[in-house]
Symmetry: C2
Subunit: 245 residues, 2 copies
Amino acid sequence: MAGRSTQLNKIKGVIREQIVGGVLLPQQKLSSERELSDRFSTTRITIKDALTSLETEGLIYREERKGWFVSPPRIHYNPLSRSHFHQMIREQQRIAETKVVNVETVLATSDHAKVLERSDFPTVHLIRRLRYIDGRAVLFVENCLISELFPGILQENLTTSLTGLYKEKYGYTTSRSRFDVIPTAAPEHVAKSLGIAAGQQVLKICRVNYNQDEVIIDCEFEYWRPDSVVITIDSCEDCEKTSAY
Amino acid sequence: MAGRSTQLNKIKGVIREQIVGGVLLPQQKLSSERELSDRFSTTRITIKDALTSLETEGLIYREERKGWFVSPPRIHYNPLSRSHFHQMIREQQRIAETKVVNVETVLATSDHAKVLERSDFPTVHLIRRLRYIDGRAVLFVENCLISELFPGILQENLTTSLTGLYKEKYGYTTSRSRFDVIPTAAPEHVAKSLGIAAGQQVLKICRVNYNQDEVIIDCEFEYWRPDSVVITIDSCEDCEKTSAY
DNA sequence: AAGTGGTCTAGACCACCCC
DNA sequence: GGGTGGTCTAGACCACTTC
């Protein structure tokens, strides 16, 4: 099932076998495009087409202007589970890290207000963070918190779980959340943070969180490198978890 | 926020405005790549890069060797909801259609057996169907049913809801389902059915369904055109729905 | 300074679709 | 048969990273 025997498919096949066969290891850099085009006696354009196609499969990824690398196994992620990012990654025997990109307090844009279902354009804290797995930046998150509900939160340590902070400092627990998953292109600031070229594919997840009183307290925009994750949902598990809160 | 002012970004900007501004309507064909490369005084490669980038955004899609078309609005899809495909599409004021691609009865492959959690490689019915929205093929589905649980099902009308058949003919209701969402490349037979080029991006959803006795009765592999859908999940709603069954 | 990917030119042939 | 996108050649310059 290798498809028509084009140059493209041959190149893809060779590289795919090297990855699946373990000749190339996760996060290892592939040869440069020029080197590959020599080795396969073809042009950079054809090589780039082959690499882009393997990227779509989720086998490799690129760091802008650095090169192409082998994708590590995907992380299983359940957006309904209130498990913290660091805990979730640790449970999958991987290493998590979080860095704050920037923080600001502004009036909600119309986009934010819409998601938060607030027609009065409240003041919000925007917290933008980058999350790493095994040293690789895979997730850009923007949290948008209604500021009056979270006095003083910007003075806290924001590299850990916000959900944890919500609970400990403010007594909010998430009774319910609603989210959308959309395959789309990375906006420019996201692409820059993740080290991908603008306009490349990401998996966008928009989430709205409700507290125990069914009040929307924040929303979140996640942008995942598409090869890094598989969204996993179990209706049963989630209902148990939700009702346990 | 138009990015660096490259030729690429200019072309993308012009076409994007025509789409957002309603000059180009959903499902309308764009000019051919050659025509566009004339109009923008550039080469087909650059035009193709621009179009591919807009495709990643979800603004346009392609039909293999036919051309590029404007994407209609995305359908909201909740894989946990047991709502039937046709009903779901109708509720969103769109027109649904289903065609059977082929049907076969075979021994489960190791992939299927694994998902079905059956180490004995049972005989399964594979039902492959193509689903259309407003006349456009957007979803390829392969259902894999454990054949001993569904005697005679292949004689039924398979262009409607399988879930409906499960209930009416066999008394099975789905108490629980578990699914994975994965951005990946279209396998060859899927690409061919959907009319996309092999190796292009799709959103793959693998689902396992349990009946009221917590027995796995079938699994399903869905391949969506990535611009056609947004996965929407509400923890609250789902719990209500699940418990209502 | 050397090397990388990102962008771009100016062509070509082929497989397939539609008329 | 004419037009479409899919694939491919053989180069080029630029922005950025790495050393």
